[in-house]
């Protein structure tokens, strides 16, 4: 059996497995709490696995090891930001949000503010963040499949994107949060197993001596010691150094504002279980990033990473699968073929699980925030709401397919970094101000969200990512004036500033009065939503 056939059959196995799980989960789901929050019946450990599954996207698995393989140490800086970010989620957000919300990110704002404006704002930013993130994953899926099957065909890419889109619509509409959570759990186990396997094989090649592995990487790339030090990618000049600080801020503050991560905390019965979820997530994600360090430097040491190589032309995205092939015995060997197919299938499972989580998040927000509250003013029945959520999943899936096909030239890491920047600038300020500032009110919340969102998108539009540089989206045009490719250093403070400004320019005694309820509820769990028992 050749590699392509093996890869294809493993891909089909992944699809069948996840489809089976979804059908099984759908038979155990009935009401709205099941659809949106998996009945709040998952254990801390199960949800910890699912959170890791949602978080370790293709950008982490393929992207970071690829960045390390190409840029050496500077790629590692991403992993550190992505991990430290979890402390913000653990200490400041997870438990308090679990106690004060129900289904969506908007719930804890709507608890004490005028519902229609804050739900509209929060739903807007939820959908924007999720779409950027979705595009990154779907573009990644298209690239992965064509490169692995070794067919350079635009129609195959488009077909893959459509296939992934249809699958994610299926997971969400049929399985709801229960099905999606189980898909995440299975994916997390597959990903960790695959990563441990390749890591051990790489380390074995160097007698389990990290220093030797690093030395081989520095030598094989021909870049010497600087490959092992910071600065290769970001050290060029003051602008690129400030750009790095900006990226670091977006990474560390973005996680706790990602809607698809936040709603995971509603799937457990108590705040304490939410804490346990994050502890497991930190353990799993931390170990995973330590292993991507080995994968990245391993790829640099064992593969050809020159300008014309497959690793370099894929932007680093194929470093992990090709490394698996190399440690399995090399191209043409049975071991190499098996490992390449296995790791590719794991990457594919990763993408499928993450897109399902994102679609569910946006669909929930559209149904629960926009339809039920903004349009129906709370008069919709739960059954109606869930029906609308299923329709919304279809629409969002279709929109994502429609956008992903023309977006195939976009850089995946850029799309993910942008999603993090929007999450850090638009969502985190309103969440933190709402939980910790009594005076905060409706105008403050909407200004924080729209202010952070708009400044983020505007700055990116005028950045070298979009125009006026060789790697820009539009290489021919030039309207660039903002020098940084990541807007975080400006847009995050702006999000907080607008939140403050909106608040102090308006008075809202109701919001302050209800803060008492929010505060007691958030800190003690008194009156928080309970688990559903079947």
């Amino acid at each position: 059996m050749n590699t392509q056939a093996l890869t294809a059959s493993l891909f089909i196995a992944v699809v069948l497995l996840t489809v089976g799980i979804t059908f099984w989960a759908s038979r155990q789901s009935s009401g709205a709490a099941d659809f949106y929050a998996g009945g709040r019946s998952f254990s801390g450990f199960q949800n910890g696995l699912a959170v890791s599954g949602d978080y370790m996207s293709a950008a982490s698995f393929l992207g970071i090891s690829g960045l390390i393989a190409l840029n050496g140490y500077d790629g590692f800086l991403y992993s550190i930001g992505f991990l430290v970010a979890w402390l913000v989620a653990l200490l400041l957000v997870a438990e308090l949000l679990r106690n004060s919300g129900r289904y969506t990110m908007a719930d804890q704002l709507a608890y004490r503010m005028r519902q229609r404006p804050v739900r509209t704002a929060a739903a807007t930013s939820t959908v924007v963040v999720s779409i950027f993130y979705l595009l990154a994953q779907m573009v990644g899926a298209g690239a992965l499949v064509t490169l692995l099957l070794d067919v350079q065909s635009e129609s195959l890419k488009a077909l893959t994107i459509i296939g992934v889109g249809l699958l994610m619509i299926f997971y969400v509409t049929v399985g709801g949060m229960k099905g999606t959570t189980w898909v995440q759990i299975v994916k997390a186990v597959l990903l960790m197993t695959g990563t441990v396997l390749v890591t051990v094989l790489v380390l074995a090649k160097f007698g389990f001596n990290l220093s030797e592995l690093l030395g081989a990487a520095a030598q094989n790339t021909g870049k010497g010691q600087p490959f092992l030090e910071p600065g290769l990618k970001y050290g060029a000049n003051l602008t690129s150094q400030i750009d790095f600080v900006s990226l670091a801020i977006a990474l560390v503050l973005g996680t706790a504002g990602l809607p698809h991560i936040l709603i995971r905390f509603y799937t457990v019965p108590t705040a304490k279980a939410a804490r346990t979820s994050v502890l497991w997530a930190i353990t799993l994600i931390g170990s995973f990033y330590l292993m991507t360090l080995v994968l990245g430097f391993g790829a640099a040491a064992l593969l050809d990473t020159g300008a014309e190589s497959k690793v370099a032309t894929s932007g680093g995205n194929l470093a992990s699968p090709l490394l698996a092939e190399a440690v399995g015995g090399g191209a043409g060997s049975t071991g190499g073929a098996v490992l390449l197919a296995l790791i590719s299938a794991v990457a594919f499972a990763t993408i499928l699980a993450v897109v399902a989580g994102l679609t569910l998040t946006s669909a929930s927000s559209v149904a629960h925030d926009l339809y039920a509250t903004v349009f129906k003013k709370g008069a919709a029945t739960e059954k109606d709401e869930v029906r609308v959520a299923r329709v919304a999943a279809f629409v969002i899936g279709a929109v994502a397919i429609g956008l992903a096909i023309p977006a195939q030239k976009l850089n995946i890491a850029f799309l993910v970094a942008l999603a993090f920047a929007v999450a850090a600038s638009a969502n985190l300020p309103s969440i933190l101000l709402n939980l910790f500032w009594k005076r905060f009110n409706t105008r403050g919340a909407t200004w924080a969200i729209y202010g952070g969102l708009v400044s983020c998108v505007v700055l990116v539009f005028f950045s070298p990512v979009v125009s006026g540089s060789e790697t820009a989206l539009f290489t021919q045009a030039n309207w660039q004036w903002f020098p940084l490719s990541n807007p975080g250093i400006v847009s995050v403070p702006l999000g907080f500033f607008f939140g403050w400004l909106g608040t102090i320019t308006s008075r809202e005694p109701e919001a302050e009065e209800k803060y008492v309820e929010l505060e007691v509820r958030a800190f003690t769990g008194a009156g928080a939503e309970a688990a559903v028992h079947h």
Binding site: E212, L214, G378, E517
Partner: protein
């Protein structure tokens, strides 16, 4: 259980519940809970943010220091990066231990009073 929106645009809450929440917030136990939570979270957040920013700044502007080799090919930059993992695991573990011991009992007690008060 549903989110009815009243004419003013706010979520409808049970007025009796509001009263109970008010009473709980006024208890010395709740003040103590807030104080204990802040006593850990404020310094811990400052420490990990500054520690992370120090790492970012050194990576940018102290290449000489970061490039010093410690053992074999393992340099200060790598050790510093790995230490970020160690502190993240450590702070997470300390936080969970602290909350279990110092905050959870108070929260449980207040929650029980709430359930008693609204029934």
């Amino acid at each position: 259980m549903t989110h009815h929106v009243d004419e003013t645009g706010y979520e409808e809450h049970d007025p009796r519940e509001h009263q109970t929440y008010d009473q709980l917030r006024a208890t010395p136990e709740f003040t103590e809970l807030r104080r204990r939570y802040a006593a850990f979270v404020v310094p811990a957040t400052l420490v990990f943010i500054l520690w992370y920013l120090l790492y970012v700044v050194l990576s940018n502007w102290a290449p000489g220091f970061m490039g010093i080799r410690v053992i074999g090919n393992i340099n200060v930059a790598l050790v510093f990066g790995l230490l970020q993992f160690v502190t993240t695991f450590g702070i997470a573990w300390l936080y969970a231990r602290y909350m279990n011991r110092a905050v959870d009992p108070l929260a449980r007690d207040l929650e029980a009073r709430f359930s008693g008060g609204t029934r």
